[in-house]
């Protein structure tokens, strides 16, 4: 069976880099969120890790953007472009992900609506984290900043659970993980999960 490239190597690196930084940020953040975990803060030294991870969290996406402006902008455009197929997806998705039949799912682009929703959440919470975090770092804790930082943590954290679960455990997302590791997914998987994008890829292939 033929494989189709879904992600380039550098996009994959970028993804896992953000995962690493977010993991460090979330763990060191949790030390300051839950009193039971606070011994992990080691009397405050965890906050240094939080700050260095924050630097990686901010710097690498900027570098990525500067080196790949075209694909980055395309990606941003994709995340924020929503149409009636997305509404249809949102209506059909609960049934589908609870194991229902596939017929009602509208064809999807390179990323499906749920994945786009996650991109939007990551972008918005990321911006909130960085702005409020930078305020706390450079001008001291402010009530507004720390509370917004918390809200972003709760919203992003809850959505992350869904993202992680779908990628790792959900039977319907059988090749999601493989495509974020090797960059490739089988033709069958792409056809059924990303129909619209599959058409584009085939059309492009025929042109060249």
């Amino acid at each position: 069976m033929k494989d189709i490239e879904r992600f380039r190597k550098r996009a994959i690196f970028h993804h896992w880099w953000i995962v690493l930084c977010s993991f460090l940020l979330a763990v060191t953040g949790l030390f300051m969120f839950m009193e039971t975990l606070s011994p992990g803060a080691m009397g405050g030294y965890s906050r240094i890790i939080h700050r260095f991870a924050a630097l990686g969290f901010v710097a690498v996406p900027i570098i990525y953007f500067v080196l790949n402006p075209k694909t980055s902008l395309e990606w941003l455009k994709e995340a924020f472009t929503w149409n009636t197929d997305d509404i249809g997806w949102l209506q059909a998705a609960p049934e589908y992900y609870f194991g229902g039949p596939e017929e009602n799912m509208p064809p999807q682009g390179r990323s499906n609506t749920g994945q786009k929703l996650w991109m939007v959440v990551v972008i918005i919470t990321g911006v909130v984290f960085v702005i409020t975090g930078a305020v706390m770092m450079f001008s001291g804790v402010s009530g507004v900043a720390v509370i917004l930082h918390d809200i972003a943590f709760i919203a992003g954290g809850a959505m992350f659970l869904v993202h992680f679960f779908l990628a790792v455990f959900h039977p319907r997302m059988s090749e999601a993980m493989r495509s974020m590791i090797t960059g490739k997914a089988s033709e069958d998987y792409v056809k059924s999960h990303h129909g619209k994008w599959y058409e584009e890829v085939v059309a492009k292939g025929e042109q060249s």
Binding site: G43, R47, G99, G140, G143, I147, I151, H170, R172
Partner: protein
């Protein structure tokens, strides 16, 4: 049994013995100061100054004689302590006697207490880059581990040293009723604005002030409140956060069980 420190401003001479005794007992350094136009000195609390006397000059006109008002500026040991509410590590905690203690080993220097204390009492020094520095400090009513006077049967150092009896230490109930009598006497004796500060403020504080004028005249905060943001954050947003994450988690577990079963049963058909 709830304890308290009672400060009687009408007996205070502004000698600052308490200020020095506090530094002495707690091993705090002298702070370099300058003349900023007042006998009040140093100008502000710091990690090395947990207690200072505020000097307020009133009057000084032809008709109004010059008067000095002294007021203790230090932790109020609130019953509804905003600092304890927001402290993420439990470093700040309320003792059974009502004093708000601080365990520096647990403190992470995050600064939340500094931001949310309605009296602007805690202080810390944090490096801009690392966030690390001198940990949070404030008056612990001499309950600091290793320097604990209270649990060894002594009065707080400031009370012990006060030469005029302006500071007393004891059961809050007892001090409160004595203070109420004193304020009533002041009121009927040409001090109509006399006030017992700390009786009801922020749930009742464990430092009480007998004032012969309004709190405002003494530079104290009128009607201090636990900041609404602290309450919203700790009592609404965070519990809601745990709730949301819990519901999502349960939903996902349910999802995998249902989805697996349905997909398998369809494949078997």
């Amino acid at each position: 049994m709830a304890k308290a420190i009672l400060y009687d401003a009408t007996k205070c001479t502004g000698c600052r013995g308490c200020q020095v005794a506090c530094k002495n007992w707690n091993g705090l350094e002298a702070v370099e100061t300058y003349n900023w136009g007042s006998y009040e000195n140093p100008k502000d609390l710091s990690t090395q100054t947990w207690l200072k006397m505020r000097f307020i000059e009133k009057g000084g006109t032809e008709t109004d004689n010059m008067r000095w008002l002294f007021a203790r500026q230090s932790c109020m040991h609130c019953t509804d302590a905003a600092c304890v509410k927001v402290c993420p590590t439990g470093a700040l905690h309320i003792r059974t006697d009502g004093f708000v203690a601080l365990d520096k080993d647990k403190c992470t220097n995050c600064g939340y207490c500094v931001e949310f204390c309605p009296f602007s009492i805690p202080r810390l020094d944090a490096s801009l880059i690392s966030g690390i520095g001198d940990k949070a400090t404030k008056c612990t009513a001499c309950t600091t581990a290793g320097l604990n006077r209270i649990d060894n049967g002594y009065q707080p150092a400031c009370v012990n040293t006060c030469p005029t009896g302006a500071l007393t230490f004891g059961d809050r109930e007892t001090l409160l009723s004595a203070a109420q009598d004193k304020v009533a006497a002041l009121k009927s004796n040409s001090h109509p604005n006399a006030y017992l500060y700390g009786e009801n403020e922020v749930g009742g504080t464990h430092v009480l002030y007998i004032l012969d004028d309004t709190p405002k005249a003494y530079g104290l905060i009128e009607d201090p409140k636990v900041p609404a943001a602290a309450t919203a954050w700790q009592d609404i947003i965070k519990p809601l956060g745990y709730g949301i994450v819990g519901v999502v988690g349960l939903g996902l577990i349910l999802n995998i069980m249902v989805a697996r079963a349905r997909i398998i049963s369809r494949e078997e058909k």
